[in-house]
Symmetry: D3
């Protein structure tokens, strides 16, 4: 095992559960999953694909933005807060965005948010409905007021994920260009911006894997949580999709990206980390989905808590040790 | 809350269960669902999408027609009887139809029946296989002898639902024109007949909703139980379908139609009433289906018991108060 | 050759051209095809799939209703008149319909008309856009004022073709139930009405043929001109469609239907009569289409002039002798 | 009940469980299903669609070849051994094939194996990835060394199943020609070989059934376990597929084939034997799959133990009596 | 007729042909079309969808970049020159791009170029293969050396068209986000860049029209030539697509965009200007395509010469007067 | 230019036309194409995709088998004879096959034949309808009596093409496994048989090319005429297909295969030889098809005459010199 350095803050109160007896997998589920039930709010149909960060303010330890679909099945993003990262208080009202050009502000839906803490701001990116899905961008300091910027890209795009710091002097984002529907393809691309307003220098990062080599990620892939900086490279969790005769199966795995040229893949895991196996992952509004959107890491210990959507219905958690995970990626890499 | 008048008979012995503690939904499931298991009959594969009426005769309190698929997966309709509306005695033999032109009588399958009590007859409509699915029509007085008439419409049609009385002097039916397969579209239309033999004066009633507004009903919709007459309009329960990457999800909601011009929609609920959530709704021959075909209403009290198919496999029940429901539709209307 | 009796009027001035030297086909094209060019009107994109009748009035010998798509590619129906059945004067304005319920009258498009002369009225049926394609119905006496009735059927339907007299005391119509798009299936059905207002007694007439037996009509079929009454049965021209890897090919053939039970097919031709072969049939807005919508027959002589749309762009004519054609159907029948 | 003779060996220690009280089905599930969990091996994602035979050697009573998908979702075949046919010791390494031309040996995947004991060899056939799925062939005597021959057929083929003896002097195999993906069609064919090297004399055996007659097998069918020889004919278990709006449902039934001309079907069951009903069949990597690949039969008693894949995830067992089953097929035949 | 001012240069030698006698269309074809045959180069399969500009240098009057597919059917861009705008000398070698990051420079294909003259440079944009189609950008001064910049957008995008000057201080581009194949949808969007390197401020401009209103543009639309600045707004020619049962039909029309907020549509023509009608438009590698990529305008006289690809095979020309065209758009607008 | 040796007979009277002035293509069309019109027979709809050989007997110089579709659009094979290889006498009756097992003999259709002269027999292979398309096999000595053998392969297969001599002691055939419809994939495989009865030793020969490299052959490919033996390898003409938004385009090119291991490709041309360009190739029952099925070669001079189907409607010819062609393949190879 290498001596891995993790860049990031200490989160001594990170939600955590040790690896179960007899389990030899590099990642394991929280035993009390799901942590957020579908009907936590009076009119929620489902709560999943959500993002959280440490947040020491207003008496809360953690804050986040949550995908909450209501019983109209409208997709919205709600703020939420927690003392322990496991029990969440989610606002009944969805996020209110301010400051954007009215035309942009008049979005039609928002879903699958991520949060990146860059300098003093929490930057939220999400799938934003503007004549099709694209990447919405906003920042907040208090998870009460969200300042919306221009959409980063043209439609059709999903899974926009910011890096937690500038790279080579520019903001950096991963995303997955898509189509207007249940996209049957999907590569991960990298883009840069001097100002969070104009984007360019687009680079291809990863394509789906060969079916014969790693089938769970052979149809499409998309970035998950904000990448984690380590001395070995950016640790990226990403979902992959396999299409069976009975629909898509969403699992997730991990990769290491070059620190300075993140479009260069150092290692990429052939096996998945988590694939639908529990009843709350196998059944729900979209069966057979495990979809990570956030990961907390306690830098000193390397403990990692992953939040992932289950069956597009509820939210689950899984745990790993970053150093073990990085080692595992290298040992199981298809690069 | 308005003073709502419900036109209909008293059913003091209506199957009923009060709203559970802590539940604030306008409709709630029966705690002992499913009420009809898939293998109630020796050769039944599934029993669902069925219709019942009060029936004070031969010692029974309720009667109905039931969709029973056998282990050939052939779709048939069986008569059934009950003392309490919950425990059902379903005939092992399917309905025998008499009186029709032999060519029409030689149908290939029958499914998803509804029953309307008009004057002294119980009128059964169902999806009838005559060179494609269309709307079969028959009447019975005793649920033993069923007199078949001509099919109401040309193929391809499903979900034909009669109003419980003539409107403007004519019989009236809702239906959903379809195609030959797993139809990916579907509006509700209204038609009239002077004689249950020839049909015309077709009017468009409702299209699927906009995805951004009410996604559970954005792909296709179809009438459910026989409409319930109230002083506020016809109360219609109807199913709606959303297509995920893993298939269709059938939920159901409700609308109010004008009493004299039922093709005019007064109000229509944006949220669903019931969407697949329980394991018997999430899994089965067709996962993620809740599909209502009948509703009993005790007019004096407004108690309503809905029968709905679950996962195209078993039959469940749900309850509501008609006045609360009408009020809820108005408060949540997208019209 | 049998002694065939044709029920119908004498049209001594029927447009006609004798069978060319060396041609031994039962039907042959007019040598000066197309008879109506696509840009006959200043804003017409195409003129095709149109219907004509003898019309001895106002100095004209023939009248008709014409599908005219404008350069918006909107589908409209225009009246037209002719002295010889070949050179046509088509109104620049499309048909104005009167008398219908405003909701029905607010149609979105009209195309592929047919005209049947029943008693003293010319009855026009067409594909009428009312929340999808269905069969519009109107009558005229002068091809100036068109009185619209209710649509005959629920959507989705195309190719509604009236018989030229009541059968068993009722109006009778053939049609082809369809779906919302480029329907990939299609059988011909028969329906009856006591009053042109309500329709029922639907019967299946013909399905597509087996690919191995008669491939040009193996995907879908639809009635063409108003059937021609003969002592051998109703002579029906109908189109059939074959799907190649490069799209649909529309050809047409013929059948004999029982006089009293027209849903019973007496004979049906395995070979086509006309299939796309000329450059004006092979190329145009929809390549490879020959689509008949009208046929004039001079009863005493049996001369028949067929009008058919070519490549959904222009109008062509073809000729046959009815007695030869009936004989040919019987000799080449797949029934 | 006829006096049925079963050709085959005695397996007195066949895994067995009597028909449950109150059950009147001809086949019943093992009460402790699934017998093989998905994660029996450290890196297995799933273990299913596997084949076993009696094997009195090395201290084992049974041996077999098992489809094991790893957490890359790669499809591999592993040897396994058992004392009781229920608890299995499966090798962590997949089968190593020897002896084939290097080009053939360089296969890309292997799945859904069957094993036939012919004379002194165990012949394994499986779906073998050679520029598409085709039928791989190998023999073993010890389930340690597998001698690979040429692929039997051109791609694209699946479900190759050998008969347990030569017929008319030649090896005989059933298979299901397919396409490159989630094939939406599928008939069972029969082929012969003088030498297990060259194949010919292909005959059509069975097509999918008519939807109206036996819907569970109306889209595609494929042979299951090695056929069982009886005095009434070859007893074949086979899977059938129905496509709902939410995907494929795999059930299985049975047929009797002529002993000398096995492409002639003597009887074929309209009802299914097993269709997905239990949670381990309804949910998993591919929901709603029951897929038999092997059957043990104790010839003297007619007890039969069937191994079938469940939801493409785990392995289950079901039991029947051969004589009852043969009788049931005859009584419920659609031939 | 208004007094329209056209911003642009005088091109007294613009290729031109007066409107034919009897023609009353606002745009008319060149009588000697096609002007560039498919096999002008020894190994060209087709030459079409190309862009030209006035170019007074090296003895040439016009220069351009041409889509040339070779007999491998590889898509490449070649420079070309002309004395009269009609007879073209096209280089046998395709464009060589310099200066870009090697990863970007390693494109896989280039097609459908446009050229905008901004200040002193000719800016070429084209559909550039970089892990999918996106918008390539390069500038040249001499049509010999082309300096490539970063791709403007993420894939998947086509039909990137620059405005001929900065708007509000930024470069401006129209484009049509697409998918990986024969995209069945397509809106026109507008984007801005301070530096031709980073892009943002994306705005929706136009969606396809309603089928009932303007069917030729009801499936997808895309910008054509570089917009022409007039006192009434930006004059945009754009293609629209209708899907028949036999494939796509590409026609083109025109719109007026606001000068300062070009994503606001002032007027948009319901009728098409040119739709496939001539044999060189109806037949070829892709039948039924007319696709404009360039327009020359002589500002003082308003004469306009449009270059358009025909059937993805050859290049044609059409003519119009800008003032008449602007007037016609306003009179036929669906905005 | 190398000194190429061609193995084969002299055909001094081979149909021939010198390369036109100014043409520098390696293959050129016959100036009087098409040589066989679609209606050569009284009931023929089309005559194309046919095969011919030298045949010095009964006063004829050439004989062949011709795909003739009748006006039912049934696909049949007819014998034909010619004095000059250009003007053909085709039998009005289709080929009668004898000698096969009645079940095999009862085929449903036959099309796209090839003829190989091996030793003293003419071996005909074709696409034979036996529960789907597969490869039929028969031999004749006189093109009057055809002796049918077993089908070579299981369905679904097309384009079975024999080599003109045994290779390594076995008969050898190329074929293209397919699906049941308009197959959207297709590789060329090689198979061997000791006896023309049983087939095996299947090898993959060629997959479609990469779109970016040689797009005309990027979707599927299939062998054309019987390969021509040269000192440089087997010269194979083969068709390739590109799918545009308006359907498939069939072009053809050529390759060199190793003489002893013909599944090894020595060279393969990136450019096509012939792609649809003439009106009889661009329009017809299937537009945009050029499909070669036979080639005559005069060994001493290397003159080659290719017969190819045009638009699935008529038959054309093209010419080349074998030595030039082999040289051209090598110079333009993508291997």
């Amino acid at each position: 095992m290498m001596a891995l350095e993790i860049k990031g803050q200490a989160i001594p109160n990170i939600p955590w559960q040790d690896r179960p007896q007899g389990c030899d997998h590099v990642m394991w589920r929280y035993s009390a999953n799901p942590v957020i039930p579908r009907d936590l709010l009076p009119t929620s149909n489902s709560i999943f694909n959500s993002a959280v960060v440490p947040y020491g303010r207003d008496g809360w330890e953690f804050a986040g933005v949550f995908r909450v679909d209501d019983t109209n099945r409208r997709m919205r993003i709600h703020p939420g807060f927690s003392h322990d990262g496991i029990n969440w208080h989610i606002d009944e009202s969805d996020v209110v965005l301010t400051g954007a050009d009215p035309e942009i502000a008049a979005w039609e839906y928002g879903y699958d948010p991520r949060v990146a803490h860059i300098d003093d701001r929490y930057w939220v990116t999400w799938c934003n409905g503007y004549h099709g899905p694209t990447i919405g961008v906003a920042w907040t300091e208090d998870f009460r007021t969200f300042h919306q910027l221009e959409n980063a890209f043209l439609p059709y795009n999903r899974n926009g994920v910011l890096f937690p710091r500038k790279i080579n002097g520019r903001y950096a984002m991963l995303s997955r260009p898509s189509d207007t529907g249940h996209t049957a393809f999907g590569d991960i691309f990298y883009s840069e911006s001097p100002d969070m307003e104009f984007w360019g220098h687009h680079r291809h990062v990863m394509a789906p894997a060969r079916f014969e080599e790693s089938a769970w990620q052979c149809m499409k892939i998309g970035a998950g949580p904000v990448p984690i900086e380590t001395s070995e490279g950016w640790l990226l969790l990403y979902h992959g999709v396999l299409r069976s005769c009975n629909g898509y199966v969403y699992a997730f795995g991990s990769a290491l990206l070059d620190l300075d040229r993140p479009w260069e893949v150092i290692a990429r895991s052939a096996p998945y980390l988590i694939s639908p196996r529990e009843i709350y992952e196998l059944t729900g509004d979209v069966p057979n989905v495990t979809f990570p959107c956030a990961a907390l890491v306690d830098a000193p210990t390397g403990r990692m808590a992953v939040y992932y959507g289950c069956a597009d219905t509820v939210t689950g958690m899984a745990f790993a040790k970053v150093d073990e995970l990085v080692d595992w990626i290298r040992r199981n890499s298809i690069v």
